[in-house]
Amino acid sequence: MDNEILEDSYTVKTPGFEGPFGLLLSLVEARKLFINEISLSKVTEDYIQYMNKLGGLTPTEISNFIIVAATLILIKSKSLLPNLNLTSEEVSDISKLEDRLRLYGVYMKLSENVKNMFGKKIIFAPLERKNETLVFLPDNQITKESMMQFARDSLVRVPKKVFLPEVEIKKVMSIDEMIDKLTERIQSSIKMNFREFAGAAETREEKIVVIVGFLAMLELVRGGILNAIQENNFEDIMIEKQVLIINEDFV
């Protein structure tokens, strides 16, 4: 049961996913599992491996994946070490992830309808009518000055390229800390519970191998986090694929 790590990873054929939920859902579905803690703990390694292989993502996109990875790590840790104490916040993170994944799944099912229907039976609007009456009807609001102002205003509202928002960096950095602490907790938990591992020496060793493997996995995640943060510590490094910021007041 616990040696899932040693099992071959399930492959997700094409990157038919857009974000972290898409990846996670496709991993769960590839194993024909339902969404719950058990299935999520089973796909954690696959998820992290995929995440580290994903290329060409912006730091913001990477951080979206990392945030989900953090919760998966909690789930996995709990499944490896049932007596690991999780904070109430961590417990709620886990149940929220399950709920969100189910919600995402609902919309992905619905998106099949959209995909099947879009552009198939179109309701056409009538063609543009030929100008019946040729008139010139200006408006006193149109002046040289007002037009200049409107043109300038529209330029102000054009989306700007932005860096990864500071909030995102903070979120990702806090996950780095979390992994630190978790590593500590797991290591001390191994020491404390070493004797409590039930069964023959063989099973015990197996368990240790699994946990050590998992700790190595945590290091991998940390690598991804470092990449995301480093790229943002230097202001002159632009996000590779420029992200547009949309001012909610306009558009």
């Binding site: 857009e18 919309y107 309808n113 229907m117 179109i122 056409f124 558009v251």
Partner: protein, 185 residues
């Protein structure tokens, strides 16, 4: 002339979406009267070459979706029927929620959607409007153009439209909490 006849004539003459407010103004009747005339006009048009497209507050006439191939064959302009993965995800949420904030879309998708929403808005498939219930926030709604590409005259005609709401309630509760916590950020 009854109200539905007048509405039909106005929509035909305009040839583009007309707001219900505008009809109220033009025809000097109440919103409720317009709405019930819309119901009977929709019924009268069953089996006709023309359908009435309606969403909250806006109406327009279009060709019967069953005649899509016929009209498309006559059409010169090329239609863009392609949807990227992120367009598809985002449109599904906007259509089935029929009015949704960007925060909710982000929450469901797990990624930032501002870029794709702008792209879909440029394409005329979604529209950003001020939330009637809370004028400090914006919601995204399907446009009549989107409905016409889907071949339905109202979001309620989408398959599985009625069934989804229950399964979504539980998650929506969590969402409300989540969003409350994040507004401070």
């Amino acid at each position: 002339m009854d109200l539905e006849t007048k509405i039909e004539a106005i929509l035909f003459w305009k040839g583009e979406p007309v707001s219900v407010d505008k009809l109220v103004d033009l025809l000097k009747v109440s919103k409720d009267e317009i709405n019930s005339a819309v119901v009977s006009l929709t019924e009268k048009l069953v089996g006709r070459g023309i359908v009435l497209l309606a969403r909250e507050g806006e109406l327009t006439l279009g060709t019967n979706p069953e005649l899509s191939d016929l009209i498309e064959g006559m059409q010169k302009d090329e239609l863009n029927k392609d949807l990227s993965r992120s367009s598809l995800e985002t449109l599904s949420i906007v259509l089935y929620k029929n009015g949704v904030s960007r925060a909710e879309i982000d929450y469901i998708r797990g990624v930032n959607s501002s870029f794709i929403l702008r792209a879909l808005s440029v394409r005329g498939l979604v529209e950003k409007t001020v939330d009637e219930n809370d004028n400090r926030r914006f919601i995204y709604k399907p446009t009549l153009e989107l409905l016409s590409f889907m071949g339905v005259t109202s979001p309620k005609d989408l398959p599985d439209y009625g069934d989804i709401n229950i399964s979504i309630e539980a998650a929506a509760k969590n969402l409300a909490e989540e969003l409350k916590n994040e507004t401070g950020v």
